[in-house]
Symmetry: C2
Subunit: 358 residues, 2 copies
DNA sequence: GTTGGCACTCGGGATAAATGAGTGCCAGGG
DNA sequence: CCCTGGCACTCATTTATCCCGAGTGCCAAC
């Protein structure tokens, strides 16, 4: 069973009037947070219908699973299915203002290091959406590396600095029984960089392991040291999947979290990022903006969340995901362009960085 | 006006009976969170007194500012002054169990990198105290550095890796108009390391600036490059004061934060760490355990917090502070030994690491 | 100095009543 | 056939009210 399963709903499942009603309900509910009743709906004069007629439409929508009532004498609230239909067929994205776009471009332009840009993006996502911002940075493992360097920290401690082709830099402290001089480390760094640059860490490891056999034959001490250190450096870089989560405090002001228990559960859930990483990872192959609603994944279901996310990186080499996490009742019309623009901005920035290098 | 101002209270301001009563009230209130009344107090049979007598004592304590009533017809609650007296003169620390000590030692023993140890300490502080754990890591600026290394990332981008004498490693990406070859960078790294190792970054910068004059006379291109790069690398490392904050979610379950508004304010306050850093910094010169209560600093006053903190590092060279942050009503008797032990464990660990190097 | 007694205060919990937004359904009219 | 006004009904929420109990201060007696 796939962990993420979007609801599949066709546009012509609803006639024109029902669609308009559903759209108005979703929009008003997003704006107010309250259940919407037939009277409220009738007041908005785009329908020339009486409350009673609207009630009929609404009852139909409820039967078909697009709306639900919190209790008998309350108005209607969209279900997951309702939101899904809205997002797929009814929503009109409200583009970012020129001012907002400029602000993003300017701030992104000012950063230089990749880590910094990712962090900034996450902060921007959070502050501009007033939701939780997420940037998923996949491991270096899957990308070609540019160089490896070794720095003597202490007699048996060597700091290994791996520079990825995308400008990412990873430090790894290696402890070893062997002793190295500074000169040796430089030689090793040059050798590994010259020999393996452009390969992924995984490929490098395999090559190094293969080299072990040669070394056995040659009994070359230097080669042995190179292999030992290289393998150590390359090992275990894998689990550095990192998810930058920013702005968890934004949830505190949302009426959805008035209850302290729900709040607590959510915070604890955010603390362990594995599930979120899992979900974001599953979208790495998907092109374009992805929206995930409530019951469509186990994580979002439990907390009644939605995720709006998008891939970043080049088309041929996706780097990771950016997105926001918030209650199902969020302004998708604004969130969608925001995430989209920030994803593009980030991709552009990274591409620029890479071009500079060649 | 100093930002941090501890209340100064003498032990003999209260007679024996008043002290016992105050102590019992503080302890019971810490345990229950409720205001303590004279009846409750009389039941605890260490006083052979009637509620009425206790009321007299309590009224006196209130007049002197050690207790207060949330409202008429409620029991008494300790004031800041009451807590201060309790901590200074009445508290009996409850030492960590052997099991707890072993658990700490074992986990600390398993880590190797400094960053990792600091992070772990913060997590341990938080999980073992069920409060917010803090580890303040001061800038590299004030410590002697061990080596500097330069790695070519792109034509005009150089990654500078500074290794501190304490094992800290800082990366800094420098962009420059000059172009460097890999060989040049190695030469520069060697030169700077040989010339300046053992000095603080601040000293290094001053030396480099002085070198500028020599360079003017010599017109040595290599020297010029060295100076330019060196100064760039050393500049602006200063503001990397870092405060590791762990376990903010622990506040969610405390009755003090049942109110969503207070919770929100607190989370936002924790997000900007400057004030906390400021407070912790002010304790860097102080020996031994520091406890700061409510009104004794502006930060703790606003949020009704207390801070229990302690310096770590060697006696001659303090590295930073470890501590916990929580509501005033916390189990000081347990928190004090905990922070103290973790501070010592961290210091020991760092000392060990340093010894290995020599 | 200690104690029991007493009148008084006040927050919080429980209960009851009032409110009002909303629904479903039905019968009548275009 | 669809729309509409009317009507009875439901039910969460708010408001008012009462009561209880924990706690206090004060006083008179021991």
């Amino acid at each position: 069973m796939p962990m993420v399963q979007k609801l599949d709903i066709h546009a012509d499942d609803l006639d024109a009037r029902a669609r308009e009603v559903l759209r108005e309900i979703v929009m008003q509910h997003i704006a107010s947070g309250e259940p919407i009743g037939s009277r409220t709906l009738a007041k908005c004069d785009r329908f020339q219908l009486s409350p009673a007629s609207l009630r009929n439409v609404m009852a139909d929508l409820e039967d078909q699973g697009y709306l639900q009532q919190p209790h008998t004498s309350a108005g209607r609230v969209p279900t997951d299915r309702g939101y899904r239909f809205f997002i797929d067929h009814l929503m009109k994205s409200r583009n970012l203002s020129a001012h907002e776009r400029e602000s993003i471009d300017e701030q992104v332009g000012q950063t230089s290091e990749v880590d910094e840009v990712l962090q900034l993006t996450s902060k921007l996502l959070s502050s501009m959406s007033d939701q939780v911002g997420m940037v998923f940075m996949p491991t270096l493992l899957q990308f070609a590396i540019r160089s490896m360097n070794f720095i003597l920290v202490a007699e048996n401690k060597i700091m290994c600095v791996i520079v990825g082709g995308n400008g990412m830099v990873v430090n790894k402290l290696v402890e070893t029984r062997l002793t190295f001089t500074r000169d040796e480390l430089e030689t090793i760094g040059r050798y590994i960089t010259a020999e393996f640059s452009g390969m992924t860490l995984d490929q490098i490891r395999r090559r190094l392991i293969r080299l072990t056999e040669q070394e056995r034959a040659l009994h070359d001490e230097m080669l042995q040291k190179t292999i030992t250190l290289g393998i150590e450096a390359v090992n275990d870089v894998a689990p550095v999947h990192d998810l930058i989560v920013e702005g968890a405090a934004s949830m505190l002001s949302k009426p959805e979290f008035a209850d302290a228990g729900a709040l607590r559960k959510t915070f604890l859930a955010l603390q362990e990022k594995e599930k979120l990483i899992h979900i974001l990872e599953s979208f790495l192959d998907e092109d374009g903006l992805q929206i995930l609603i409530g019951s469509e994944s186990d994580f979002t279901q439990v907390h009644n969340f939605s995720i709006v996310a998008r891939r970043y990186g080049t088309h041929s080499a996706p780097l990771g995901m950016v997105g926001i996490l918030g209650p199902m009742r969020m302004e998708y019309a604004r969130m969608a362009p925001l995430v989209d623009y920030l994803g593009r901005a980030l991709s552009r920035k990274i591409e620029e960085e890479q071009e500079q290098k060649h």
